[in-house]
């Protein structure tokens, strides 16, 4: 597959992935065009970025222990990743302190942070379940077909 064809394939696959989202948007517009949550989507988007960044950094920090096994246990990358996660926490606290910028229906910064973490567990569970079902359904569809026989051309 040449480079142009490969780029086209990736773009088409990305568009196919986003197609239902666009259809949902169009459908919502025909129902009244409220775009649902409106301004409430922005704090959710910001909180999702920060929380997934911090939790992702912590998971990758754990992953660095395995990396360290094959590199005579260097401390620098561990410290670097820990610092990256800590910066995420600091930025979160700083932005949550800026009034209503990232605050949702929670009374305090601590409550918002705890809500963000629990929210990420729940949406992470939804993401994992849909990934498992998406992959499993694809695999099940492939294995449900009759066995193929590969025909080789005569040389």
């Amino acid at each position: 597959m040449n480079d142009n064809r490969l780029v086209f394939t990736w773009r088409a696959m990305l568009l196919a992935f986003l197609l239902p989202l666009v259809l949902v948007w169009a459908f919502d517009l025909t129902l009244g065009g409220s775009i649902g949550a409106g301004v409430d989507s922005l704090p959710r988007f910001g909180n999702a970025i920060l929380t997934s960044y911090i939790l992702g950094s912590l998971i990758l920090l754990g992953n660095l222990f395995f990396y360290a096994d094959s590199r005579q246990r260097p401390l620098a990358p561990l410290f670097g990743m820990f610092a990256a996660a800590a910066i995420g926490v600091l930025v979160t606290v700083m932005l949550l302190n800026q009034g209503d910028l990232l605050m949702e229906d929670n009374g305090s910064i601590r409550a918002q942070i705890l809500y963000n973490v629990v929210h990420m567990f729940v949406s992470g569970g939804a993401i994992l379940l849909s990934l498992a079902l998406g992959l499993g359904f694809t695999f099940a569809t492939i294995t449900a077909q009759k066995a193929r026989r590969t025909v080789f051309e005569e040389e």
Binding site: A12, L19, G36, S41, F45, V118, G125, I127
Partner: protein, 265 residues
């Protein structure tokens, strides 16, 4: 005991046990440690599911309540898909054909259960109100599932070889999930009305996009840190080239092991 301490002990400690147990299980090299890790993770899940009883006043326990509601239908869906997939044409580990029917039944029951949780009276409710995390889970799950199935359908057609039939099945599945979303956007459920669903659907979209961006940044930072560390490492010491004696030894070993078609074959 302080409410915060109670929540830490009965919700956050079990929540921490799940990844900790998974980490032990994945990183261990012996069977006993792997079993121990799985037991720790299971203990954590039991602790989270029990949190509505152990810490009923904590808002976080709503997540434990939801997990308890989701375990049944999610297990049925996953077990169903597993049975259907591995009772088909797989080269190894094929299950008996009868497992296929069981898998289809299991999948259908799991899906109907989920649908019943939106439109019927199976909706997870806590203290007389719909569990706030159910309104996070359900739209996120449906939205991502329809997108994944659509992406998979086109991937099968463009990358796969003669996979048009499978691709059509995936388009149909994606359209079916999209239809569910459209119905939820227009028809009220017993506990969740259409307007509430539409509101939370867009929050789910923002959530998915934000999660993808945040995880991508974390992975980029991780790669950058590894790159900086590897670049700072000194060049490895060069070793002396092989001596004549070593070359002769290697030649002897190679000569003894090439040629094939020996008398014993």
């Amino acid at each position: 005991m302080e409410p915060m301490t109670q929540a830490a002990l009965w919700f956050w400690l079990p929540a921490a046990l799940v990844p900790f147990g998974a980490w032990i299980s994945l990183s261990s090299k012996t069977t006993s440690t792997t079993t121990f890790g799985r037991a720790v993770a299971l203990l954590g899940i039991v602790g989270i599911v029990s949190s509505p009883w152990t810490v009923p006043d904590s808002p976080s326990s709503a997540a434990g309540h939801l997990l308890g509601f989701l375990l049944g239908p999610a297990a049925l869906l996953l077990a169903g898909i597993y049975l259907v997939a591995f009772s088909g044409n797989v080269p190894v580990g094929r299950l008996p054909k009868s497992d296929r029917r069981l898998g289809v039944m299991s999948f259908i029951i799991g899906f109907v259960w989920f649908v019943g949780m939106h439109w019927w009276n199976l909706t997870p409710a806590l203290n007389g109100e719909v569990n706030r995390y159910w309104l996070v889970f359900w739209p996120t799950f449906l939205l991502l599932l329809t997108c994944l199935l659509s992406g998979s359908a086109l991937s099968l057609r463009m990358i796969g070889d003669r996979r048009a039939t499978e691709s059509n099945v995936m388009w149909f599945a994606s359209a079916f999930v999209f239809l569910l979303i459209a119905l939820a956007m227009t028809i009220d459920g017993r506990a969740v009305d259409a307007e509430t669903f539409r509101y939370h659907l867009w929050l789910a979209g923002a959530d998915l996009l934000g999660t993808a961006v945040g995880l991508s940044i974390a992975i980029l930072v991780f790669g950058f840190i590894i790159f900086l560390h590897e670049r700072a490492l000194p060049e490895p010491d060069s070793i002396e080239p092989p001596t004549e004696e070593e070359f002769e030894q290697v030649s002897a070993i190679v000569a003894a092991n090439i040629g094939g078609g020996g008398e014993d074959e």
